[in-house]
């Protein structure tokens, strides 16, 4: 993208008042600018969950991790790329167009399912696999102690997955939950079954399936 295109896009993002759209437009722009240098970013955390669920969960920052980079992503490169967006701050967190953008470290992902892709206004946005987000949010909701905001978030993720609004590999959800990295299969199964009951649909983990 050239500077003129970037500036026009930034004006549109700055004017956008819908937080979910604003996040997605900005994630798309940041991804495109890094992609120009063959650096692949993935949206993680609350923004990814918001794009999957429309759950009114996200706050005022977009978190991205580095999925791949041909050379080490130095502070100089980060500042140079974010500088193209008229960003202020750094070296990992910047203010841009009325939001914060955090470009964190390497993408930690244990899911074997694909990173999901949305065609955003400035280019594709990559999202952390929904399977791991489900298992991770269930873990945060119960461990080390109960945390209701994470539980509501896990419930909404499970609901859109059960409803078929997000294509989900339930075997992969189970595999991750049974792995030593999460070890929370009973909690995941129970919460999945409860949401299926609320939605009056069959749970993918029904024992007679």
């Amino acid at each position: 993208m050239n500077a003129n295109e970037i500036n026009k896009t930034l004006v549109n993002i700055d004017a956008e008042t819908d937080p979910t759209l604003k996040h997605l437009m900005l994630a798309s722009l940041v991804t495109a600018v890094f992609q120009d240098q063959n650096i692949e970013l993935v949206v993680v955390g609350g923004s990814a969950i918001e794009f999957y669920t429309e759950g009114a969960y996200v706050s005022g920052d977009v978190d991205l991790c580095v999925a791949s980079t041909p050379t080490p992503l130095t502070g100089r490169i980060r500042q140079e790329l974010m500088g193209r967006l008229n960003a202020t701050g750094g070296p990992r967190s910047w203010q841009v167009a009325g939001l914060f953008v955090d470009v964190l470290g390497g993408f930690e992902n244990l899911a074997t399912t694909p990173i999901r892709r949305l065609k955003g206004p400035s280019g594709e946005v990559q999202l952390s696999p929904v399977e791991e987000l489900i298992v991770e949010r269930v873990l945060i909701s119960t461990y080390p102690r109960d945390y209701p905001p994470a539980r509501d978030c896990a419930k909404k993720l499970l609901a859109v997955a059960l409803q078929g609004e997000v294509e989900t590999d339930w075997n992969e959800v189970r595999r991750l939950a049974c792995s030593s990295a999460y070890d929370n299969w009973n909690d995941v199964q129970q919460l999945t079954d409860e949401q299926a009951q609320s939605l009056e649909i069959r749970s993918p983990y029904d024992s007679d399936e």
């Binding site: 008042t17 819908d18 937080p19 979910t20 604003k22 609350g46 794009f51 999957y52 669920t53 429309e54 759950g55 009114a56 969960y57 996200v58 706050s59 005022g60 920052d61 203010q95 009325g98 914060f100 399912t113 694909p114 999901r116 892709r117 949305l118 065609k119 955003g120 206004p121 594709e124 929904v130 905001p149 509501d152 978030c153 419930k155 909404k156 499970l158 609901a159 859109v160 409803q163 078929g164 609004e165 997000v166 294509e167 989900t168 590999d169 949401q195 609320s198 939605l199 649909i201």
Partner: protein
């Protein structure tokens, strides 16, 4: 372009193996919000986090912009 698969609610599914069109994602926003409303409260933004200071400074005491109402999606 392939037609997207549809969810139980009749909107395009966010697919696993191919990129989703922007217009398809937009079409599903309201249905996804309504699905979530069947299992949890409408707004579930965390009440606090380690980033509170900077967020509340930028968003006039809040942690982010106000959400669109479901009927506006």
């Amino acid at each position: 372009m392939n037609k997207p698969n549809l969810s139980r609610s009749g909107v395009p599914t966010i697919p696993m193996n191919e990129p989703m069109e922007w217009e398809d994602w937009l079409r599903g926003r309201r249905a996804r919000r309504e699905t979530g409303l069947r299992v949890a409260p409408e707004v579930i933004r965390r009440p606090e986090s380690s980033k509170d200071h900077r967020l509340r400074k930028l968003f006039n005491g809040e942690r982010g912009l106000p959400f669109k109402k479901t009927e506006e999606l």
